[in-house]
């Protein structure tokens, strides 16, 4: 309601300043009236012009009149003016003649609009690198050399091959597929993209594993790579399992040339193995793992908008303000901020929202609209009058199921007052019509036979609410995903199944009662646990958005691990920035800092928490609506490589300390060696600590700049300088830092026996043992989360096997927990550098503010309820509930019996099934409702 989607539109210019911009937008014509189009698809069916389908990455054809994909939003057709015969030559117009609602309008013209806004967020995305220029890879010439995005479409059930893996030239099932990494990334010779695209290693592994799942274990998948960069959360484990369980081959080699095999569609690859042997191997197809880049048009627009770009053409940002562009009031998120994966893009996007909201806090709710509340009609005691709506879903359902027959059948069922069908029940006009029907026919229960309730139930429930009906007087049955889609080849049986499903839904909804949702106030105070960079950034963002915030730190100072750090990857001095940050937190009236304080108890639930602070034996209580956990991490204390036995063997943080102190001894070193992955990527800690490669590279540059004659070595397993950190890696090599790769079964050996400090390592290129004589060894130690089981239990939040908090959803909910009202950020989530920590802190706040802004929340109506008369007070429900919703009633008639807090109950039904007295009922899914559905189903058998 408060989002206006403007499609086919481009920003031309942004004038004005932070808080008050005027943006010129050019809106291109759709040639189809959005208000009229019902997405029936007739225009595309009648359109005679076939063109390349860009959604399927060019692997299939579509018409000039098209919709990108069936789930497109808005679900409105569009005519491509470049290929439409009418728009090009003035004849045809087949679509216009056949459109049943007269939506086609060839007279639409481009429109210029000026929109006034307080802030702008740029999330324009990326384009994939086009490998056509790489002649030696044959992409432009050979159909079996494809890009990773094309392969993604081949794997997809909605793609050109319906998910069947076949090679383009002859549709043969491939036996061998090769992936080439770093195509259009980390390459200044054949393209200008020096940076690492950050995501290609992981997606190549995913594609290889899924391809094997589709085809079978016999499919041979080989990934040719330089460094395997699986630095994200759970990625290392996935990489390991791809190697050991799925049998994907990983070959460390950059293939120079692909040669088509004469007389067949196969491809011959020549490459040099790690041992230096020249090998040739024949594959059925090759997937090029193409990188991300900023489109040229966007580079030009950025210049016009006065947005500074990095050398790799991404929006330039600072470490301590990671989503702010060089122009105040304009923020950036997604791949335009730097190449990144989905979770990181989601984090940045929420962070950008928080940044814009901080700027505009005093004009909140001045432009938004509020929903009108329709008074609810009482249906208690009324005979059920059921309305059944069968959705055709375009041809999705109607193309298989005989919808008119199902409608006719539904109208004969008990209590059914009305049965009808809709082309798209979810379309706005169908919704409006439903409201009218409910009012006109006095319907008091609705059955919707359509798609999945997971995506559409809330929408239809809103329609009921708009008609004054309790939203629980509704039942949805899925005759698409679980019927027409899976029984395409058997339309008669599918029609019968649709009838059965409708009959079951009708019998259930007839027994449905209106359910009440409890309205709960949301306390407007925030609590942040952890006073490191992440915690402080979160507290500051809450405060800037006008919320009272309590920052709890168990130590005696703010700053966390950052007090030990010297310089960021972008060359900023961390201590200067940190001091500014601490001062701004301490001087903010809205932030209450509690040092030397720990949580000793947490009661309550979303919107209404009560936490007990314990400090030097004193306890105080705080009521708050939300909590952000930013409990951080600590460095691994190494036992290997002689750490602790010799002052010359130190950790990365020890070296940072020397650099901060400008220790004169650093200038006099003749040699220094960095050893990577100390405690990371080991069987007992199967994750990459993400920042150590960059950290060591940064420090190696510091040493080289202090003394260019110093011999500096970095001993590594894979260099994971993702994104534009790759440029730092390049700089280090240019300064003469020597990178030597070692393997996990042949680790370097540090020796001090002779008084000299030496490191022995097997050089992988020369395949020769080397002895490096140095004056310092710096160990890149793992990052270990501060595991706090008490805290996890207080908030019912889980940690993974490594001790990092588990977020709500790895991709789409990276900064929040499954527990409502609790959020996370920083190292407690996963190792990350300062810019990503601050972004996640802001993201956690943005998510928390969406809750605080509601002021009140409603619990779900489908919750469990105890009949205290039947309750035997055995307590099984309490022990089984994952959300701590049941409790013994403390006073009154039913003291000692269980009762369930509807605000905590998630309606999972575990307690219902476990109750030996049959005292617990799940509202909306009561036993008799489920049984009647089973009995009705039984009739079908």
């Amino acid at each position: 309601m408060n989002i206006e989607i403007i499609t086919l539109a481009e920003v031309q210019d942004i004038k004005g300043e932070a808080g008050n911009f005027s943006v010129d937008v050019l809106k291109h014509p759709r040639y189809i009236d959005e208000d009229k189009c019902i997405a029936c698809g007739v225009c595309a069916e009648k359109c005679p012009k076939k063109i390349i389908d860009t959604y399927n990455a060019g692997l299939s054809k579509r018409k000039s009149a098209y919709v990108e994909y069936p789930q497109a939003v808005p679900l409105k057709y569009v005519i491509d003016p470049e290929t439409c015969i009418y728009l090009q030559k003035g004849k045809c117009g087949a679509c216009k003649k056949k459109c049943p609602v007269d939506a086609v309008n060839f007279d639409q013209k481009p429109e210029n609009k000026t929109i006034n806004v307080g802030s702008v967020i740029l999330a324009p995305g990326f384009e994939t690198f086009s490998p056509e220029a790489f002649e030696n890879y044959q992409y432009a010439k050979h159909p079996n050399v494809i890009t990773s995005l094309e392969f993604e479409r081949i794997l997809s059930a909605s793609g050109p091959t319906q998910g069947h893996v076949s090679r383009p030239s002859d549709h043969k099932d491939p036996k061998k597929i090769a992936w080439f990494q770093c195509v259009g990334s980390r390459d200044m010779n054949r393209c200008d993209n020096a940076y690492c695209s950050s995501v290609c290693c992981m997606y190549a592994i995913k594609e290889a594993v899924i391809a094997k799942e589709h085809v079978g274990d016999e499919l041979d998948c080989a990934i040719f790579f330089m460094d395997m960069r699986t630095h994200g959360k759970e990625f290392e484990r996935f990489y390991d399992s791809a190697k050991t369980k799925s049998g994907v081959r990983f070959i460390r080699s950059r293939v120079h040339t692909i040669t088509p095999v004469t007389g067949s569609d196969d491809l011959e690859l020549r490459f040099v193995t790690e041992d230096g042997d020249l090998k040739t191997e024949i594959f059925d197809m090759v997937v090029l793992s193409v990188g991300m880049q900023t489109p040229k048009a966007l580079v030009d627009l950025s210049k016009k908008l006065d947005i500074d770009l990095t050398p790799g053409n991404f929006a330039d940002t600072q470490t301590f303000s990671p989503v702010a562009t060089s122009r105040p009031g304009i923020f950036v998120s997604g791949a335009f901020q730097g190449p990144k994966d989905i979770p990181q893009a989601v984090v940045d996007s929420s962070a950008a929202s928080a940044a814009a909201a901080e700027l505009l806090a005093d004009v909140r709710n001045t432009c938004t609209k509020e929903k009108k509340i329709v008074p609810e009609v009482s249906v208690l005691g009324d005979r059920p009058k059921i309305g059944v709506i069968i959705c055709q879903c375009g041809t999705n359902i109607a193309g298989v199921v005989d919808v008119p027959k199902v409608v006719e059948y539904a109208s004969t069922l008990p209590y059914v007052e009305l049965a009808t069908d809709k082309l798209f029940a979810c379309s706005q006009d169908a919704q409006d019509n439903m409201v009218e029907l409910i009012k006109e026919k006095g319907l008091n229960r609705i059955v919707m036979a359509a798609c999945t309730p997971k995506t559409h139930e809330p929408l239809f429930q809103d329609t009921l609410t708009a008609a004054g009906l309790n939203k629980y007087l509704f039942e949805m049955t899925n005759i698409r995903n679980q019927n027409s889609w899976v029984h395409k080849n058997n339309p008669e049986m599918a029609t019968e199944k649709a009838k059965d499903l409708v009959r079951m839904a009708v019998s259930k909804v007839a027994m449905q009662e209106p359910l009440a949702e409890v309205e709960l106030p949301v306390n407007q105070t925030a609590m942040v646990v952890g006073g490191g960079i992440s915690g402080m950034a979160a507290a500051k963002s809450f405060a800037e958005q006008g919320y009272e915030t309590h920052l709890v730190e168990k130590g005696s100072r703010l700053g966390g691990q950052a007090v030990n750090l010297y310089m960021t990857a972008k060359g900023e001095y961390i201590q200067e920035k940190l001091a500014e940050m601490i001062a701004s937190v301490e001087s903010d009236d809205r932030i209450h800092v509690h040092l030397d304080t720990q949580l000793s108890n947490v009661d309550g639930f979303v919107g209404n928490f009560e936490s007990t602070f314990s400090s030097n034996g004193n306890e105080t209580k705080l009521e708050h609506g939300v909590a952000v956990l930013a409990t951080g991490a600590t460095p691994y204390h190494p036992t290997e490589y002689g750490y602790g036995t010799d002052d010359r063997i130190i950790t990365s943080l020890d070296l940072d300390k020397k650099l901060m102190d400008d220790d004169p001894s650093l200038k006099t070193l003749n040699g220094a060696a960095f050893i990577q992955c100390v405690g990371s990527r080991e069987p007992e800690r199967m994750y990459c600590s993400r920042i150590c490669c960059t950290h060591s590279i940064e420090n190696s540059i510091q040493l080289k700049e202090k003394n260019p004659d110093m011999n500096v070595y970095i001993l590594y397993r894979d260099i994971r300088a993702y994104g534009e950190k790759e440029l730092l890696y390049k700089k280090a090599r240019q300064l003469g830092v020597i990178f030597i790769r070692y393997s996990i079964d042949n680790k370097p050996v540090v020796n001090t026996d002779s008084g000299k400090l030496t490191v022995n390592v097997l050089d992988h290129i020369l395949n020769m043992p080397l002895e490096l004589e140095v004056d310092m060894v710096s160990l890149a130690t793992a990052i270990i989360p501060n595991k706090d089981e008490k805290l996890s239990n207080f908030f019912k939040v889980a940690t993974n096997t490594d001790g990092f908090f588990i977020e709500k959803h790895a991709k789409l909910g990276p900064s929040e927990f499954s527990t409502d009202g609790v959020y996370l950020c920083g190292l407690a989530h996963y190792p990350k550098p300062i810019d990503e920590s601050i972004a996640q802190a802001k993201a956690a706040v943005a998510r928390a503010v969406t809750l605080l802004a509601r002021k009140t929340i409603f619990s779900s109506g489908t919750v469990a309820q105890v009949d205290p008369v039947l309750c035997a007070a055995c307590g099984v429900c309490m022990s089984i509930c994952p959300y701590s919703a049941p409790k013994f009633t403390e006073e009154g008639r039913f003291a000692g019996k269980a009762e369930i807090n509807p605000a905590l109950c998630k309606g999972c039904g575990l307690c219902v099934a476990s109750c030996r007295s049959g005292a617990i009922h799940l509202k909306g899914f009561d036993t008799d409702q489920i049984l009647t559905q089973i009995f009705e189903m039984d009739e079908a058998v």
Partner: protein, 59 residues
């Protein structure tokens, strides 16, 4: 900075990043204009098959 602030935000780009920004802002009390150059929102993620590690359909 201006004194006449406006309580609305323009989000340029309707991929996963733009959609997330738009939703967060709208739910926090700001009116959002979501500007997309293509005919529908969703971005590149809508073209992906499955996403790691949940193997959820990207759609």
């Amino acid at each position: 900075m201006t004194k006449n602030k406006i309580g609305s935000v323009m989000v340029v780009g309707g991929g996963i990043a733009g959609m997330q920004s738009a939703l967060d802002l709208a739910d926090a009390g700001y009116y959002v204009y979501l500007v997309e150059k293509g005919p529908s929102i969703g971005g590149v993620m809508a073209q992906l098959d499955k996403t790691f590690p949940t193997n959820d359909c990207a759609m």
